[in-house]
Amino acid sequence: MQQNNPVCTSIYTDINKSRIIISLCSLAALFLAVIADLAVGSANIGVQAILTALWAGPGAQTVNTVVLWDIRLPMTLTCIFVGGSLGVAGLQVQTITNNPLASPYTLGISAAASFGAAISITVGFAVAGYLWLGTSLLAFLLAMLVSMLIFFMGKLKGMSTTTLILTGIIMNFFFSALQQFLQYRASAEIAQVISSWTFGNLARSTWTSVAVNGVMLVFGSLLLLGWSWKLTALSAGEERAYSLGINVEKLRFGVFVISAFLIAEAVAFIGTVGFVGLVAPHCARLLLGEDQRYLLPLCACFGGLLMLLSSVVSKLMSVGSMLPVGIVTSIVGVPFLFVLLLRYKG
Protein backbone atom coordinates (compact mmCIF):
# COMPACT_ATOMS: atom_id res chain seq x y z
CA MET A 1 0.00 0.00 0.00
CA GLN A 2 1.33 3.46 -0.94
CA GLN A 3 1.61 6.23 1.59
CA ASN A 4 -0.90 9.06 1.30
CA ASN A 5 0.05 10.96 -1.82
CA PRO A 6 -0.40 14.70 -1.23
CA VAL A 7 0.14 15.48 -4.93
CA CYS A 8 -2.88 13.45 -6.00
CA THR A 9 -5.07 14.78 -3.21
CA SER A 10 -4.07 18.30 -4.15
CA ILE A 11 -4.77 17.63 -7.86
CA TYR A 12 -8.30 16.54 -7.06
CA THR A 13 -8.86 19.42 -4.61
CA ASP A 14 -7.60 21.93 -7.20
CA ILE A 15 -9.99 20.62 -9.87
CA ASN A 16 -12.91 21.06 -7.49
CA LYS A 17 -11.73 24.48 -6.30
CA SER A 18 -11.69 25.78 -9.87
CA ARG A 19 -15.18 24.34 -10.36
CA ILE A 20 -16.47 26.16 -7.30
CA ILE A 21 -14.92 29.43 -8.54
CA ILE A 22 -16.53 29.00 -11.98
CA SER A 23 -19.88 28.24 -10.32
CA LEU A 24 -19.66 31.34 -8.12
CA CYS A 25 -18.73 33.54 -11.11
CA SER A 26 -21.72 32.14 -13.01
CA LEU A 27 -24.00 32.90 -10.07
CA ALA A 28 -22.66 36.47 -10.02
CA ALA A 29 -23.38 36.75 -13.76
CA LEU A 30 -26.90 35.45 -13.12
CA PHE A 31 -27.40 38.08 -10.42
CA LEU A 32 -26.26 40.88 -12.77
CA ALA A 33 -28.57 39.54 -15.49
CA VAL A 34 -31.46 39.59 -13.01
CA ILE A 35 -30.80 43.27 -12.23
CA ALA A 36 -30.51 44.05 -15.97
CA ASP A 37 -33.76 42.24 -16.76
CA LEU A 38 -35.59 44.04 -13.96
CA ALA A 39 -34.22 47.40 -15.04
CA VAL A 40 -35.03 47.10 -18.77
CA GLY A 41 -38.60 47.69 -19.87
CA SER A 42 -41.03 50.19 -21.39
CA ALA A 43 -41.51 51.97 -18.04
CA ASN A 44 -38.26 53.89 -17.57
CA ILE A 45 -37.15 52.81 -14.09
CA GLY A 46 -33.50 53.08 -13.03
CA VAL A 47 -31.52 50.44 -11.17
CA GLN A 48 -31.68 52.53 -7.95
CA ALA A 49 -35.47 52.77 -8.18
CA ILE A 50 -35.71 49.02 -8.89
CA LEU A 51 -33.69 48.20 -5.77
CA THR A 52 -35.81 50.65 -3.70
CA ALA A 53 -39.05 49.07 -4.96
CA LEU A 54 -37.66 45.61 -4.27
CA TRP A 55 -36.74 46.62 -0.74
CA ALA A 56 -40.15 48.24 -0.15
CA GLY A 57 -41.92 44.95 -0.82
CA PRO A 58 -45.17 44.23 -2.73
CA GLY A 59 -47.38 46.16 -0.31
CA ALA A 60 -46.09 49.66 -1.13
CA GLN A 61 -48.54 51.63 -3.31
CA THR A 62 -46.23 53.24 -5.87
CA VAL A 63 -46.15 52.88 -9.65
CA ASN A 64 -42.65 51.42 -9.52
CA THR A 65 -43.73 48.82 -6.96
CA VAL A 66 -46.68 47.71 -9.07
CA VAL A 67 -44.56 47.51 -12.23
CA LEU A 68 -41.84 45.58 -10.43
CA TRP A 69 -43.87 43.20 -8.28
CA ASP A 70 -46.80 42.54 -10.63
CA ILE A 71 -45.06 42.51 -14.02
CA ARG A 72 -41.26 42.42 -14.07
CA LEU A 73 -40.40 40.23 -11.11
CA PRO A 74 -42.71 37.33 -12.16
CA MET A 75 -41.17 37.51 -15.66
CA THR A 76 -37.62 37.57 -14.34
CA LEU A 77 -38.16 34.69 -11.93
CA THR A 78 -40.00 32.70 -14.62
CA CYS A 79 -36.94 33.25 -16.86
CA ILE A 80 -34.67 31.80 -14.17
CA PHE A 81 -36.85 28.81 -13.35
CA VAL A 82 -37.97 27.94 -16.91
CA GLY A 83 -34.43 28.38 -18.23
CA GLY A 84 -33.09 26.37 -15.30
CA SER A 85 -35.60 23.58 -15.86
CA LEU A 86 -34.81 23.41 -19.58
CA GLY A 87 -31.06 23.46 -18.87
CA VAL A 88 -31.29 20.61 -16.35
CA ALA A 89 -33.75 18.61 -18.48
CA GLY A 90 -31.56 19.13 -21.56
CA LEU A 91 -28.51 17.83 -19.71
CA GLN A 92 -30.37 14.74 -18.53
CA VAL A 93 -31.92 14.01 -21.94
CA GLN A 94 -28.39 14.15 -23.38
CA THR A 95 -27.15 11.85 -20.62
CA ILE A 96 -29.84 9.17 -20.89
CA THR A 97 -29.86 9.16 -24.69
CA ASN A 98 -26.04 9.37 -24.80
CA ASN A 99 -26.50 11.95 -27.53
CA PRO A 100 -24.87 15.39 -27.28
CA LEU A 101 -27.31 16.85 -29.80
CA ALA A 102 -30.43 15.78 -27.90
CA SER A 103 -32.59 18.37 -26.17
CA PRO A 104 -36.02 18.58 -24.50
CA TYR A 105 -37.42 18.76 -28.05
CA THR A 106 -35.95 15.38 -28.95
CA LEU A 107 -38.43 13.47 -26.80
CA GLY A 108 -41.44 15.17 -28.40
CA ILE A 109 -42.70 16.45 -25.04
CA SER A 110 -42.63 20.10 -26.13
CA ALA A 111 -44.59 19.31 -29.30
CA ALA A 112 -47.22 17.52 -27.22
CA ALA A 113 -47.48 20.50 -24.85
CA SER A 114 -47.97 22.80 -27.84
CA PHE A 115 -50.76 20.56 -29.12
CA GLY A 116 -52.41 20.56 -25.68
CA ALA A 117 -52.29 24.34 -25.62
CA ALA A 118 -53.67 24.46 -29.17
CA ILE A 119 -56.68 22.32 -28.17
CA SER A 120 -57.32 24.51 -25.14
CA ILE A 121 -57.10 27.71 -27.18
CA THR A 122 -59.37 26.28 -29.90
CA VAL A 123 -62.14 25.11 -27.56
CA GLY A 124 -61.70 27.94 -25.03
CA PHE A 125 -60.95 25.57 -22.15
CA ALA A 126 -60.86 27.48 -18.87
CA VAL A 127 -60.08 26.45 -15.29
CA ALA A 128 -61.73 28.48 -12.50
CA GLY A 129 -62.71 30.97 -15.18
CA TYR A 130 -59.12 31.51 -16.36
CA LEU A 131 -58.30 30.63 -19.98
CA TRP A 132 -54.53 30.82 -19.38
CA LEU A 133 -54.80 28.31 -16.57
CA GLY A 134 -56.78 25.91 -18.78
CA THR A 135 -54.16 26.25 -21.54
CA SER A 136 -51.30 25.61 -19.13
CA LEU A 137 -53.07 22.64 -17.57
CA LEU A 138 -53.87 20.99 -20.88
CA ALA A 139 -50.32 21.62 -22.16
CA PHE A 140 -48.94 20.01 -19.02
CA LEU A 141 -51.31 17.02 -19.23
CA LEU A 142 -50.50 16.33 -22.90
CA ALA A 143 -46.79 16.61 -22.14
CA MET A 144 -47.14 14.05 -19.36
CA LEU A 145 -49.31 11.78 -21.53
CA VAL A 146 -46.62 11.68 -24.20
CA SER A 147 -43.97 11.09 -21.57
CA MET A 148 -45.92 8.04 -20.39
CA LEU A 149 -46.27 6.78 -23.97
CA ILE A 150 -42.52 7.12 -24.52
CA PHE A 151 -41.91 5.45 -21.20
CA PHE A 152 -44.10 2.44 -22.01
CA MET A 153 -42.43 2.08 -25.41
CA GLY A 154 -39.08 2.31 -23.63
CA LYS A 155 -40.09 -0.32 -21.08
CA LEU A 156 -40.94 -2.72 -23.90
CA LYS A 157 -37.45 -2.26 -25.34
CA GLY A 158 -35.40 -1.93 -22.13
CA MET A 159 -35.20 1.91 -22.19
CA SER A 160 -32.60 1.80 -24.97
CA THR A 161 -31.33 5.11 -26.34
CA THR A 162 -32.52 4.23 -29.84
CA THR A 163 -36.05 3.56 -28.63
CA LEU A 164 -36.17 6.81 -26.66
CA ILE A 165 -34.91 8.93 -29.55
CA LEU A 166 -37.01 7.23 -32.26
CA THR A 167 -40.19 7.36 -30.17
CA GLY A 168 -39.49 11.01 -29.39
CA ILE A 169 -39.04 11.85 -33.08
CA ILE A 170 -42.29 10.03 -33.93
CA MET A 171 -44.14 11.95 -31.20
CA ASN A 172 -42.63 15.21 -32.41
CA PHE A 173 -43.89 14.71 -35.97
CA PHE A 174 -47.24 13.37 -34.83
CA PHE A 175 -48.13 16.20 -32.47
CA SER A 176 -46.69 18.89 -34.73
CA ALA A 177 -48.98 17.57 -37.50
CA LEU A 178 -51.99 17.57 -35.16
CA GLN A 179 -51.24 21.12 -34.08
CA GLN A 180 -50.88 22.25 -37.69
CA PHE A 181 -54.20 20.58 -38.47
CA LEU A 182 -55.89 22.55 -35.67
CA GLN A 183 -54.27 25.77 -36.87
CA TYR A 184 -55.35 25.07 -40.45
CA ARG A 185 -58.98 24.51 -39.43
CA ALA A 186 -59.13 27.37 -36.90
CA SER A 187 -60.21 30.95 -37.54
CA ALA A 188 -57.51 33.50 -38.28
CA GLU A 189 -57.64 34.90 -34.72
CA ILE A 190 -57.41 31.49 -33.04
CA ALA A 191 -54.63 30.39 -35.42
CA GLN A 192 -52.74 33.56 -34.47
CA VAL A 193 -53.08 32.82 -30.74
CA ILE A 194 -51.94 29.21 -31.22
CA SER A 195 -49.00 30.37 -33.27
CA SER A 196 -47.93 32.95 -30.69
CA TRP A 197 -48.09 30.31 -27.94
CA THR A 198 -45.43 28.26 -29.69
CA PHE A 199 -42.98 31.20 -29.61
CA GLY A 200 -42.59 31.18 -25.85
CA ASN A 201 -43.86 34.45 -24.43
CA LEU A 202 -42.79 35.78 -21.03
CA ALA A 203 -45.80 38.08 -20.94
CA ARG A 204 -47.74 35.01 -19.78
CA SER A 205 -45.69 34.87 -16.56
CA THR A 206 -47.63 35.02 -13.29
CA TRP A 207 -46.78 34.34 -9.67
CA THR A 208 -48.48 30.95 -10.17
CA SER A 209 -46.02 30.08 -12.95
CA VAL A 210 -43.16 31.29 -10.75
CA ALA A 211 -44.27 29.09 -7.85
CA VAL A 212 -44.89 25.96 -9.95
CA ASN A 213 -41.70 26.33 -12.01
CA GLY A 214 -39.60 27.15 -8.96
CA VAL A 215 -40.81 24.27 -6.81
CA MET A 216 -40.46 21.75 -9.66
CA LEU A 217 -36.94 22.94 -10.55
CA VAL A 218 -35.68 22.77 -6.97
CA PHE A 219 -37.36 19.45 -6.21
CA GLY A 220 -36.33 17.83 -9.52
CA SER A 221 -32.74 19.07 -9.24
CA LEU A 222 -32.38 17.77 -5.69
CA LEU A 223 -33.59 14.32 -6.74
CA LEU A 224 -31.21 14.29 -9.70
CA LEU A 225 -28.28 15.47 -7.58
CA GLY A 226 -28.81 12.38 -5.44
CA TRP A 227 -27.87 10.32 -8.49
CA SER A 228 -25.05 12.61 -9.59
CA TRP A 229 -22.27 9.99 -9.43
CA LYS A 230 -24.34 7.39 -11.28
CA LEU A 231 -25.22 9.95 -13.94
CA THR A 232 -21.56 10.88 -14.28
CA ALA A 233 -20.76 7.19 -14.78
CA LEU A 234 -23.56 6.86 -17.34
CA SER A 235 -22.07 9.75 -19.31
CA ALA A 236 -18.95 7.58 -19.71
CA GLY A 237 -21.01 5.02 -21.64
CA GLU A 238 -23.84 2.57 -21.08
CA GLU A 239 -21.68 -0.56 -21.14
CA ARG A 240 -19.25 1.03 -18.72
CA ALA A 241 -22.07 2.01 -16.33
CA TYR A 242 -23.45 -1.55 -16.42
CA SER A 243 -20.02 -2.94 -15.68
CA LEU A 244 -19.76 -0.65 -12.63
CA GLY A 245 -22.87 -2.26 -11.19
CA ILE A 246 -25.35 0.52 -12.07
CA ASN A 247 -28.90 -0.50 -12.93
CA VAL A 248 -28.94 1.62 -16.09
CA GLU A 249 -32.55 0.85 -17.02
CA LYS A 250 -33.85 1.92 -13.61
CA LEU A 251 -31.67 5.04 -13.60
CA ARG A 252 -32.83 6.02 -17.10
CA PHE A 253 -36.45 5.57 -16.06
CA GLY A 254 -36.10 7.78 -12.95
CA VAL A 255 -34.23 10.49 -14.84
CA PHE A 256 -36.70 10.34 -17.71
CA VAL A 257 -39.70 10.87 -15.39
CA ILE A 258 -38.08 13.86 -13.64
CA SER A 259 -36.96 15.37 -16.97
CA ALA A 260 -40.47 14.95 -18.38
CA PHE A 261 -41.92 16.87 -15.41
CA LEU A 262 -39.31 19.62 -15.80
CA ILE A 263 -39.97 19.99 -19.53
CA ALA A 264 -43.75 19.89 -19.07
CA GLU A 265 -43.80 22.57 -16.37
CA ALA A 266 -41.34 24.73 -18.29
CA VAL A 267 -43.37 24.85 -21.51
CA ALA A 268 -46.86 24.72 -19.93
CA PHE A 269 -46.96 28.35 -18.83
CA ILE A 270 -44.98 30.44 -21.29
CA GLY A 271 -44.94 28.14 -24.32
CA THR A 272 -42.13 26.36 -26.10
CA VAL A 273 -38.64 27.85 -25.87
CA GLY A 274 -36.01 26.44 -28.17
CA PHE A 275 -32.28 25.81 -27.81
CA VAL A 276 -31.90 26.63 -24.09
CA GLY A 277 -32.00 22.91 -23.26
CA LEU A 278 -29.37 22.20 -25.92
CA VAL A 279 -27.01 25.13 -25.46
CA ALA A 280 -26.87 25.44 -21.64
CA PRO A 281 -25.55 21.88 -21.01
CA HIS A 282 -22.84 22.28 -23.65
CA CYS A 283 -21.62 25.62 -22.26
CA ALA A 284 -21.56 24.18 -18.74
CA ARG A 285 -19.82 20.99 -19.86
CA LEU A 286 -17.09 22.92 -21.68
CA LEU A 287 -16.31 24.86 -18.50
CA LEU A 288 -16.70 22.19 -15.82
CA GLY A 289 -16.40 18.75 -17.35
CA GLU A 290 -18.81 15.91 -16.68
CA ASP A 291 -18.98 15.71 -12.87
CA GLN A 292 -22.73 16.12 -12.38
CA ARG A 293 -22.38 17.38 -8.80
CA TYR A 294 -21.20 20.65 -10.35
CA LEU A 295 -22.49 20.30 -13.91
CA LEU A 296 -26.18 20.03 -13.00
CA PRO A 297 -26.38 23.26 -10.94
CA LEU A 298 -24.34 25.10 -13.58
CA CYS A 299 -26.74 23.92 -16.33
CA ALA A 300 -29.63 25.38 -14.31
CA CYS A 301 -27.66 28.60 -13.87
CA PHE A 302 -26.74 28.87 -17.59
CA GLY A 303 -30.30 28.03 -18.63
CA GLY A 304 -31.60 30.89 -16.47
CA LEU A 305 -28.83 33.19 -17.69
CA LEU A 306 -29.59 32.48 -21.36
CA MET A 307 -33.30 33.14 -20.80
CA LEU A 308 -32.58 36.39 -18.95
CA LEU A 309 -30.23 37.64 -21.66
CA SER A 310 -32.79 36.70 -24.32
CA SER A 311 -35.44 38.54 -22.33
CA VAL A 312 -33.29 41.69 -22.12
CA VAL A 313 -32.51 41.51 -25.86
CA SER A 314 -36.19 40.95 -26.73
CA LYS A 315 -37.19 44.01 -24.69
CA LEU A 316 -34.47 46.15 -26.29
CA MET A 317 -35.35 44.96 -29.81
CA SER A 318 -39.00 45.80 -29.47
CA VAL A 319 -39.38 48.98 -27.42
CA GLY A 320 -42.85 49.38 -25.91
CA SER A 321 -43.77 45.73 -26.36
CA MET A 322 -41.94 42.45 -25.91
CA LEU A 323 -40.69 40.17 -28.65
CA PRO A 324 -41.49 36.52 -27.76
CA VAL A 325 -38.42 35.23 -25.94
CA GLY A 326 -38.56 31.91 -27.82
CA ILE A 327 -37.65 33.74 -31.04
CA VAL A 328 -34.60 35.37 -29.44
CA THR A 329 -33.29 32.16 -27.84
CA SER A 330 -33.51 30.50 -31.24
CA ILE A 331 -31.60 33.34 -32.90
CA VAL A 332 -28.88 33.01 -30.27
CA GLY A 333 -29.02 29.20 -30.38
CA VAL A 334 -28.86 28.52 -34.13
CA PRO A 335 -25.24 29.70 -34.65
CA PHE A 336 -24.21 27.69 -31.60
CA LEU A 337 -25.95 24.60 -32.95
CA PHE A 338 -24.01 24.94 -36.21
CA VAL A 339 -20.76 25.05 -34.27
CA LEU A 340 -21.79 21.90 -32.41
CA LEU A 341 -22.77 20.12 -35.61
CA LEU A 342 -19.39 20.93 -37.14
CA ARG A 343 -17.62 19.81 -33.99
CA TYR A 344 -19.46 16.48 -33.85
CA LYS A 345 -19.25 15.92 -37.59
CA GLY A 346 -17.85 12.40 -37.06
Binding site: T9, I11, I15, T232, R285, D291
Partner: protein
Protein backbone atom coordinates in the same frame (compact mmCIF):
# COMPACT_ATOMS: atom_id res chain seq x y z
CA UNK B 1 -7.16 -20.39 -1.93
CA UNK B 2 -9.78 -18.41 -3.84
CA UNK B 3 -12.09 -20.55 -5.95
CA UNK B 4 -14.68 -19.64 -8.57
CA UNK B 5 -17.06 -22.39 -9.47
CA UNK B 6 -19.74 -22.18 -12.15
CA UNK B 7 -22.24 -24.99 -12.51
CA UNK B 8 -24.83 -25.51 -15.21
CA UNK B 9 -24.62 -21.88 -16.29
CA UNK B 10 -27.31 -21.12 -18.83
CA UNK B 11 -28.14 -17.90 -20.70
CA UNK B 12 -30.97 -17.37 -23.15
CA UNK B 13 -31.84 -14.32 -25.24
CA UNK B 14 -35.52 -14.90 -25.91
CA UNK B 15 -35.78 -18.46 -27.16
CA UNK B 16 -32.17 -18.54 -28.37
CA UNK B 17 -29.77 -20.43 -26.11
CA UNK B 18 -26.41 -18.62 -25.90
CA UNK B 19 -24.77 -20.56 -23.07
CA UNK B 20 -26.00 -24.09 -22.45
CA UNK B 21 -25.27 -25.72 -19.09
CA UNK B 22 -21.62 -24.72 -18.84
CA UNK B 23 -19.62 -25.79 -15.78
CA UNK B 24 -16.03 -24.87 -14.89
CA UNK B 25 -13.75 -24.19 -11.92
CA UNK B 26 -11.15 -21.42 -11.61
CA UNK B 27 -8.36 -21.13 -9.04
CA UNK B 28 -6.96 -17.99 -7.40
CA UNK B 29 -3.71 -16.64 -8.87
CA UNK B 30 -4.54 -18.10 -12.27
CA UNK B 31 -5.47 -16.52 -15.58
CA UNK B 32 -7.88 -18.29 -17.91
CA UNK B 33 -8.30 -17.43 -21.57
CA UNK B 34 -11.70 -17.97 -23.18
CA UNK B 35 -11.38 -18.62 -26.91
CA UNK B 36 -13.70 -19.65 -29.72
CA UNK B 37 -15.05 -18.35 -32.99
CA UNK B 38 -17.34 -15.31 -33.26
CA UNK B 39 -20.79 -15.65 -31.75
CA UNK B 40 -20.24 -18.74 -29.58
CA UNK B 41 -21.01 -16.85 -26.36
CA UNK B 42 -17.58 -15.90 -25.01
CA UNK B 43 -18.64 -12.41 -23.90
CA UNK B 44 -21.99 -13.73 -22.66
CA UNK B 45 -20.17 -16.30 -20.53
CA UNK B 46 -18.12 -13.72 -18.64
CA UNK B 47 -21.09 -11.35 -18.42
CA UNK B 48 -23.08 -14.20 -16.87
CA UNK B 49 -20.31 -14.76 -14.33
CA UNK B 50 -20.45 -11.03 -13.47
CA UNK B 51 -24.27 -11.27 -13.20
CA UNK B 52 -24.68 -8.67 -15.94
CA UNK B 53 -27.14 -10.86 -17.87
CA UNK B 54 -30.02 -13.00 -16.65
CA UNK B 55 -28.63 -16.45 -16.05
CA UNK B 56 -29.54 -19.91 -14.81
CA UNK B 57 -27.24 -22.18 -12.79
CA UNK B 58 -24.96 -21.25 -9.93
CA UNK B 59 -21.83 -19.12 -9.59
CA UNK B 60 -19.90 -19.43 -6.31
CA UNK B 61 -16.86 -17.42 -5.29
CA UNK B 62 -15.26 -18.46 -2.03
CA UNK B 63 -12.10 -19.22 -0.10
CA UNK B 64 -11.42 -20.99 3.19
CA UNK B 65 -12.74 -18.03 5.19
CA UNK B 66 -15.81 -16.74 3.43
CA UNK B 67 -18.16 -16.58 0.44
CA UNK B 68 -17.91 -13.55 -1.86
CA UNK B 69 -20.68 -11.83 -3.80
CA UNK B 70 -20.92 -10.55 -7.36
CA UNK B 71 -19.74 -7.18 -5.96
CA UNK B 72 -16.28 -8.72 -5.79
CA UNK B 73 -16.30 -9.46 -9.52
CA UNK B 74 -15.18 -6.70 -11.91
CA UNK B 75 -16.06 -6.81 -15.58
CA UNK B 76 -14.06 -4.71 -18.04
CA UNK B 77 -16.05 -4.38 -21.28
CA UNK B 78 -14.55 -4.05 -24.72
CA UNK B 79 -13.15 -0.59 -25.28
CA UNK B 80 -16.12 1.49 -26.34
CA UNK B 81 -16.48 5.07 -27.43
CA UNK B 82 -16.35 6.77 -24.04
CA UNK B 83 -16.10 10.47 -24.82
CA UNK B 84 -17.04 11.91 -21.43
CA UNK B 85 -15.20 15.07 -20.41
CA UNK B 86 -13.57 13.58 -17.33
CA UNK B 87 -9.99 13.57 -16.15
CA UNK B 88 -8.15 10.26 -15.80
CA UNK B 89 -8.37 10.60 -12.03
CA UNK B 90 -12.16 11.03 -12.15
CA UNK B 91 -12.56 8.17 -14.60
CA UNK B 92 -10.74 5.81 -12.22
CA UNK B 93 -12.67 7.23 -9.25
CA UNK B 94 -15.88 6.10 -10.95
CA UNK B 95 -14.77 2.54 -10.26
CA UNK B 96 -15.92 3.25 -6.69
CA UNK B 97 -19.26 4.71 -7.85
CA UNK B 98 -21.38 2.52 -5.57
CA UNK B 99 -19.64 3.90 -2.47
CA UNK B 100 -19.18 7.52 -3.53
CA UNK B 101 -21.00 10.19 -1.55
CA UNK B 102 -21.20 13.94 -2.20
CA UNK B 103 -17.78 14.50 -0.63
CA UNK B 104 -15.12 12.11 -1.89
CA UNK B 105 -13.32 10.48 1.05
CA UNK B 106 -9.58 10.60 1.64
CA UNK B 107 -9.48 6.79 1.52
CA UNK B 108 -11.14 6.85 -1.90
CA UNK B 109 -8.62 9.39 -3.23
CA UNK B 110 -5.89 7.16 -1.78
CA UNK B 111 -7.32 4.07 -3.48
CA UNK B 112 -7.30 5.85 -6.86
CA UNK B 113 -3.74 7.06 -6.23
CA UNK B 114 -2.64 3.54 -5.36
CA UNK B 115 -4.03 1.96 -8.49
CA UNK B 116 -2.68 4.73 -10.75
CA UNK B 117 0.73 4.24 -9.16
CA UNK B 118 0.55 0.45 -9.59
CA UNK B 119 -0.20 0.82 -13.31
CA UNK B 120 2.36 3.64 -13.80
CA UNK B 121 -0.41 6.06 -14.78
CA UNK B 122 -0.03 8.71 -12.06
CA UNK B 123 1.51 11.18 -14.52
CA UNK B 124 -1.68 11.05 -16.59
CA UNK B 125 -4.04 11.69 -13.68
CA UNK B 126 -4.93 15.26 -14.68
CA UNK B 127 -5.21 14.56 -18.42
CA UNK B 128 -8.63 14.63 -20.07
CA UNK B 129 -9.63 11.02 -20.68
CA UNK B 130 -10.86 11.62 -24.24
CA UNK B 131 -7.41 12.84 -25.29
CA UNK B 132 -5.68 9.54 -24.45
CA UNK B 133 -4.55 6.90 -26.93
CA UNK B 134 -6.45 3.61 -27.24
CA UNK B 135 -3.84 1.74 -25.23
CA UNK B 136 -3.86 4.31 -22.43
CA UNK B 137 -7.67 4.24 -22.34
CA UNK B 138 -7.66 0.46 -21.95
CA UNK B 139 -5.23 0.77 -19.04
CA UNK B 140 -7.48 3.40 -17.44
CA UNK B 141 -10.46 1.07 -17.79
CA UNK B 142 -8.44 -1.63 -16.09
CA UNK B 143 -7.46 0.80 -13.33
CA UNK B 144 -11.15 1.67 -12.93
CA UNK B 145 -11.90 -1.99 -12.33
CA UNK B 146 -8.93 -2.63 -10.06
CA UNK B 147 -9.60 0.35 -7.77
CA UNK B 148 -12.24 -1.62 -5.88
CA UNK B 149 -9.80 -4.56 -5.37
CA UNK B 150 -11.93 -7.18 -7.12
CA UNK B 151 -11.35 -10.86 -6.41
CA UNK B 152 -12.27 -11.78 -9.98
CA UNK B 153 -11.25 -9.73 -13.01
CA UNK B 154 -13.17 -10.38 -16.23
CA UNK B 155 -11.61 -8.82 -19.34
CA UNK B 156 -13.57 -8.74 -22.59
CA UNK B 157 -11.11 -8.59 -25.49
CA UNK B 158 -8.70 -6.35 -23.56
CA UNK B 159 -6.19 -6.14 -26.41
CA UNK B 160 -8.70 -5.38 -29.13
CA UNK B 161 -7.39 -2.62 -31.45
CA UNK B 162 -4.20 -2.15 -29.43
CA UNK B 163 -0.69 -2.11 -30.89
CA UNK B 164 1.78 -4.85 -29.91
CA UNK B 165 3.43 -2.84 -27.12
CA UNK B 166 0.14 -1.94 -25.45
CA UNK B 167 -1.14 -5.51 -25.81
CA UNK B 168 1.79 -6.67 -23.71
CA UNK B 169 1.51 -3.81 -21.18
CA UNK B 170 -2.22 -4.44 -20.62
CA UNK B 171 -1.81 -8.20 -20.27
CA UNK B 172 1.29 -7.87 -18.07
CA UNK B 173 -0.65 -5.63 -15.69
CA UNK B 174 -3.51 -8.15 -15.54
CA UNK B 175 -1.06 -10.93 -14.83
CA UNK B 176 0.84 -9.06 -12.12
CA UNK B 177 -2.44 -8.17 -10.36
CA UNK B 178 -3.56 -11.80 -10.56
CA UNK B 179 -0.32 -13.22 -9.23
CA UNK B 180 0.29 -10.59 -6.54
CA UNK B 181 -3.22 -10.57 -5.07
CA UNK B 182 -4.22 -14.19 -5.69
CA UNK B 183 -7.23 -13.00 -7.69
CA UNK B 184 -8.79 -14.86 -10.62
CA UNK B 185 -8.62 -13.35 -14.11
CA UNK B 186 -10.68 -14.62 -17.02
CA UNK B 187 -10.12 -12.95 -20.38
CA UNK B 188 -11.81 -13.30 -23.73
CA UNK B 189 -9.40 -13.04 -26.63
CA UNK B 190 -9.20 -13.92 -30.33
CA UNK B 191 -5.42 -13.96 -30.56
CA UNK B 192 -4.52 -17.58 -29.76
CA UNK B 193 -0.84 -16.81 -29.23
CA UNK B 194 -1.70 -14.15 -26.66
CA UNK B 195 -4.23 -16.51 -25.08
CA UNK B 196 -1.66 -19.26 -24.62
CA UNK B 197 1.08 -16.87 -23.47
CA UNK B 198 -0.97 -15.31 -20.66
CA UNK B 199 -3.50 -18.03 -19.94
CA UNK B 200 -2.52 -20.59 -17.29
CA UNK B 201 -5.61 -22.37 -18.54
CA UNK B 202 -7.83 -22.06 -21.58
CA UNK B 203 -11.49 -22.67 -22.29
CA UNK B 204 -12.44 -23.45 -25.88
CA UNK B 205 -16.10 -22.61 -26.48
CA UNK B 206 -18.03 -24.07 -29.37
CA UNK B 207 -21.72 -23.79 -30.12
CA UNK B 208 -22.93 -22.65 -26.64
CA UNK B 209 -20.83 -25.22 -24.76
CA UNK B 210 -17.29 -25.86 -23.63
CA UNK B 211 -15.52 -28.01 -26.19
CA UNK B 212 -12.48 -28.50 -23.98
CA UNK B 213 -10.63 -26.81 -21.13
CA UNK B 214 -7.19 -27.15 -19.59
CA UNK B 215 -3.62 -25.87 -19.97
CA UNK B 216 -2.66 -24.42 -23.39
CA UNK B 217 -0.90 -27.55 -24.62
CA UNK B 218 -4.11 -29.56 -24.12
CA UNK B 219 -6.40 -27.03 -25.78
CA UNK B 220 -4.27 -25.82 -28.68
CA UNK B 221 -4.36 -29.14 -30.56
CA UNK B 222 -4.68 -28.86 -34.34
CA UNK B 223 -7.57 -31.35 -34.51
CA UNK B 224 -9.58 -29.42 -31.88
CA UNK B 225 -8.89 -26.02 -33.40
CA UNK B 226 -9.74 -27.28 -36.89
CA UNK B 227 -13.07 -28.72 -35.71
CA UNK B 228 -14.04 -25.46 -33.98
CA UNK B 229 -12.63 -22.78 -36.30
CA UNK B 230 -12.97 -24.80 -39.54
CA UNK B 231 -9.46 -23.75 -40.50
CA UNK B 232 -6.42 -25.95 -41.08
CA UNK B 233 -3.73 -24.84 -38.62
CA UNK B 234 -0.15 -25.53 -37.67
CA UNK B 235 0.64 -25.39 -33.95
CA UNK B 236 4.22 -25.31 -32.71
CA UNK B 237 6.13 -24.15 -29.68
CA UNK B 238 8.81 -21.56 -30.40
CA UNK B 239 12.21 -21.11 -28.75
CA UNK B 240 10.76 -18.95 -25.98
CA UNK B 241 8.22 -21.59 -25.05
CA UNK B 242 5.23 -19.74 -26.53
CA UNK B 243 2.73 -21.41 -28.86
CA UNK B 244 2.53 -20.24 -32.45
CA UNK B 245 -0.76 -21.01 -34.17
CA UNK B 246 -0.55 -20.47 -37.90
CA UNK B 247 -3.78 -20.65 -39.91
CA UNK B 248 -3.15 -22.39 -43.25
CA UNK B 249 -6.45 -22.51 -45.13
CA UNK B 250 -10.23 -22.62 -44.49
CA UNK B 251 -11.68 -26.11 -44.43
Amino acid sequence: MLQLSIENLQVKYGSQVIIDHVSARFNGGNMTAVIGKNGVGKTTLIKAIAKLVRRGGTVRLYDEKRNYSSQDIAYVPQMGNAAARLTVFEMVLLGLVKDLRWKVGEDQIQAVTDVLTRLNLLALSQKPFHQLSGGQKQLIFMAQSLVSHPRVLLLDEPTNALDLRHQLIVMDQARSYTKETGAITIFVVHDLMLASRYGDNMILLDDTQIKTQGPPQEVLRPDLLESVYHVKVDVEKNGRGYFNVTPIAPI
